[in-house]
Symmetry: C2
DNA sequence: GTATTTGCAAATGATTTGCAGTGCT
DNA sequence: AGCACTGCAAATCATTTGCAAATAC
């Protein structure tokens, strides 16, 4: 369990319980869209407003605490910043799973950083498919 | 120059000039957001409505003619469906450039297709950074 | 000729903003 | 006291929908 108060303070943000609530539900669920965060947080703290969630997502992204996961055909989800990894995204239900980046992608990234005129900062590898659960569901 | 009429008909769509206009500006510019498409198309065909663009983007995506490129921190862009490739995305100006996928990513994809319980269908590799133009601009 | 498609305008949905009130420190 | 943060409501922006008229084939 992460110490959200410390994480926030180290990022230069006040440790309000709204923010800690948001981080907690995101970490518990892995990847969440704004509306999902809102519904989850509301269970603990019904008066926490949607506007506060929007403001804090933007703020925490700018401080590098949260990362956006843009997804084709759906709303973006948000996750805690963590070591580089890939996403497996289910095109049926929208669930996202993390997978460690294979080492070979590091090489690719390094190669490109050198050879391209682009000054690369981050990468995003998303694989789309159908998760186990949805495969089973469709079979029935 | 692609033959858009044929492309559309082969995809089971009528070749209206609205659709051909849309495809033309997307191909010319590579990757475009909805509003950009609208502004560009308006130069040739001012009465083409935004609603028509939305309807056709959705339709042409469902037929596999267009592909969405979701981008962190910006609106999605759309491109013509083409052979698998990566995107270099500029975090300053939003420009997107294509790069061919290095072969090693094919291996990774194949490996994962087998070992994962996910039934993979497509991949999306986005590298974010600062393009040459924006590097120059910032330096000055 | 008929089914599809378009363009408009209205409806909906998502996100942002302004501001007064709260709660730190 | 002073500053940052929250919550509400209004404003804005993005996207979708319904329908009458126009068009592709």
């Amino acid at each position: 369990m992460t110490d959200y108060a410390t994480l926030l303070k180290e990022s230069g943000l006040k440790a309000t319980f709204q923010r800690m609530n948001i981080l907690e539900v995101i970490e518990k669920n892995g990847h969440m869209a704004v509306e999902e965060i809102y519904k989850e947080v509301a269970r603990v703290h019904p008066s926490l407003s949607l506007a506060t969630i929007y403001k804090n997502i933007i703020l925490m992204m700018s401080k590098g605490v949260l990362v956006e996961v843009p997804i084709a055909g759906r709303k973006s989800k948000y996750e805690l910043a963590k070591v580089d990894h890939m996403h497996l995204i289910c095109t049926e239900c929208g669930e996202v799973e993390d997978r460690s980046c294979l080492e070979s992608t590091d090489e690719i990234f390094d190669q490109l950083s050198q050879q391209e005129h682009f000054k690369l900062s981050k990468r995003q590898v998303n694989l789309y498919g159908i998760c186990k659960k949805c495969q089973t569901r469709k079979a029935s």
